[in-house]
């Protein structure tokens, strides 16, 4: 347990450092537009709502731009995000099965508790068998951060950083209806509040990728399907007076955040903050970037 926590903390520190190095806090062209949402500022225009063509199957291109961290840190106004490719949909059980078959060390009965706690891939029938055919095309859940990372590496990809994931999530939603700004915040919050029951209700119906929602970049089901692992999931030190992580918990969180009405984003940060790298839960999957 301790070993695992240390590993994940180290990872987080490295990841946090990595982000810091790409920070461009003093971008002069942006400074005057502090109160304009980065997406509005940087992606308003003719190409905004047209998914960018991607040469990578199953991935869409996210254009470069600036991301203002949700939890503000002194001296960092915005982070420059370089263009990257993101999986259009969360990784499915069928895809994860291919990985496990090619890498038997990641099978349920072989994996060390340091890398994934009890419950890893618990919905599968056996080590190399999903069992329920309808599960195949649904997002894989009950996988640890270590497993998600190993999958990404095997695919020649990686996990997105918090900044990349949240930056991608800024794009307006275009399906099932158009929503941006406050309307989008309300919609996402509604989807989150239904996430659990929807999964249960639709457990028997086919639920292929890209069925719930899609954003202007062509990314599907970012919201309301499953939570998603990110590379630096627990690297955010949410500000609080005591210097501990209480900011994730109490009212102080609002003081240090970009937008205290964005409850859906608070939920994502709280969820990430609660995790250890070997955790598996029924609502937590992932997607990759490149």
């Amino acid at each position: 347990m301790k070993v695992m926590q240390t590993i994940s903390k180290l990872r987080s520190i490295i990841a946090a450092l990595t982000i810091t190095t790409v920070t461009v806090p003093q971008a002069p062209s942006y400074a005057f537009a502090k109160h304009i949402h980065p997406f509005d500022k940087l992606r308003a225009g003719s190409s905004s709502f047209i998914p960018h063509p991607s040469s990578l199957p199953g991935m869409v291109r996210i254009p470069s731009g600036f991301y203002r961290p949700f939890y503000t840190t002194k001296g960092i106004d915005s982070i420059r995000i370089e263009s990257f490719y993101m999986d259009a949909a969360p990784v499915t059980n069928a895809e994860f099965l291919e990985f496990v078959k090619a890498n038997p060390a990641w099978a349920r009965s072989s994996i060390s508790p340091i890398l994934a706690e009890a419950g890893y891939l618990k919905r599968w029938r056996s080590d190399f068998e999903i069992g329920d055919a309808e599960l195949a095309d649904k997002p894989v859940v009950d996988i640890s951060w270590f497993a998600a990372r190993a999958f990404a590496k095997w695919r020649g990809k990686r996990l997105p950083t918090i900044a990349e994931w949240e930056y991608a999530a800024l794009a307006p939603i275009v399906r099932p209806m158009f929503a941006s700004g406050n309307a989008k915040k309300a919609l996402v919050l509604e989807w989150y509040s239904k996430q659990n029951s929807r999964q249960l209700q639709q457990a028997s119906s086919a639920m292929r990728a890209c069925t719930l929602n899609q954003n202007a970049d062509g990314v599907c089901d970012l919201f309301g399907r499953v939570w998603e692992w990110v590379e630096d999931f627990n690297s955010i030190i949410i500000p609080s007076e005591s210097g501990s992580n209480l900011g994730a918990l109490c009212g102080a969180a609002a003081a240090g955040s970009l937008d205290p009405t964005d409850y859906a984003t608070f939920m994502r940060f709280a969820m990430r903050n609660s995790l250890n790298a070997n955790d598996v839960t029924d609502q937590l999957g992932f997607r990759c970037v490149k």
Partner: protein, 347 residues
């Protein structure tokens, strides 16, 4: 030889110190008896019985979070997040000086991480950080119940207001060790709360949380014990005329202060803000959001007594009402009922 003697003295001295420190706890806390018990937890309106203890002991509190759909009014449901499956959460009763060991479990099927902030805890966050629990995990932490009184507990995971508005709250009563509450005929657990929905009062079906109404502090419902009518009709509280009643009343808010009042009687004792100050002969007692109070009264004559928030539109239009029904012989020396009725022709 001298050196050896000296080291013996050192040993003796440190042993003496050790014994002294064992006999008297360095922080001045009452020594634990070594006994322990698992706290009996109850759903509203039931209050667990007081437990006689020979001294301060360890009390284990097992709380499990359940995210469940429950009725908030006739035909209207809401997806609550709960401590123990009901709204309000379980009532916990301990004695001052007890070491309370909290086990908070969050099932793997939960959507959210959760935590618990006990207002009875002396420590940062009231235990919030120590109990921050991802789905599929259990957290354990302990605290000494230093202060007697009636205290709120609630979830403290961001966004905190939504975790609270969605049902994650309850009460813990820390009984004073030296002067416990006097025996009464009935004890009940009542918790006032607001529910903020995008739909209107009276709408049916699954209701969604409304952040706009919550921020504007304009609830759709103001209720006792989680739902409109939770203590009306078949689920009203029943007592006998002449009996004494104690209510442990909490107000989680999240926004509104409660003007707690029972129509047709006075509180003999009102434990102001749930603490040690006792007021007498009180008509309406104020309970701030995140606060609690204990009221004691005697129901003198039979009839139906309405518990209300005397900010009265809340009682009439938003659901803040519950009934205590007293049966038994009339006492016309105290209350006559209508004695006479006649035409009036004056101006």
């Amino acid at each position: 030889m001298k050196i050896r003697l000296f080291s013996h003295y050192c040993l003796l001295f440190s042993a003496a110190l050790l014994i002294a420190s064992c006999a008297k706890n360095p922080s001045g806390l009452p020594a634990l008896t070594g006994e322990q018990r698992v706290a009996q937890l109850t759903d509203a309106p039931i209050v667990p019985a007081r437990v006689e203890e020979s001294g301060a002991q360890k009390v284990i509190v097992n709380l499990v979070v359940h995210e469940v759909v429950k009725q908030i009014a006739n035909g209207a449901t809401y997806k609550f997040w709960t401590f123990g499956g009901n709204v309000p959460g379980k009532f916990i009763r301990v004695t001052q000086g007890d070491l309370v060991e909290v086990h908070l479990s969050n099932p793997a099927s939960s959507m959210m991480p959760h935590s618990i902030d006990f207002h009875a805890v002396s420590g940062p966050g009231g235990g919030a950080e120590a109990s921050f629990t991802a789905p599929g995990h259990t957290s354990v932490f302990s605290f000494r119940a230093l202060h007697p009184g009636l205290f709120i507990y609630h979830c403290a995971t961001a966004p905190v207001p939504m975790h609270i508005a969605n049902g994650m709250y309850g009460l813990i009563y820390v009984e004073p060790r030296d002067n416990p509450l006097p025996p009464v005929d009935h004890e009940f657990y009542v918790m006032q709360s607001e529910i903020y929905t995008t739909g209107n009062y009276g709408d049916t079906g699954l209701q969604e949380f409304s952040m706009d109404k919550a921020i504007a502090e304009q609830p759709t419902y103001v209720v006792f014990n989680g739902a409109v009518g939770s203590m009306l009709g078949p689920t009203a509280l029943h007592v006998k005329a002449g009996e004494t009643v104690r209510l442990f009343v909490g107000n989680i808010g999240p926004n509104l202060a409660s003007a707690f009042h029972i129509i047709g009687l006075q509180f003999d004792n009102a434990y102001v803000e749930g603490g040690s100050l006792v007021n007498h002969d009180v008509q309406t007692t104020l309970i701030p959001p995140g606060g609690a109070t204990i009221v004691e009264f005697k129901v003198q004559v039979p009839g139906t007594y309405h518990m209300v928030d005397h900010a009265i539109f809340r009682a009439f239009n938003q659901g803040a009402m519950g009934d205590i029904i007293a049966t038994g012989p009339e006492d016309s020396a105290i209350y006559s009922h209508q004695q006479h009725y006649e035409n009036y022709n004056g101006q």
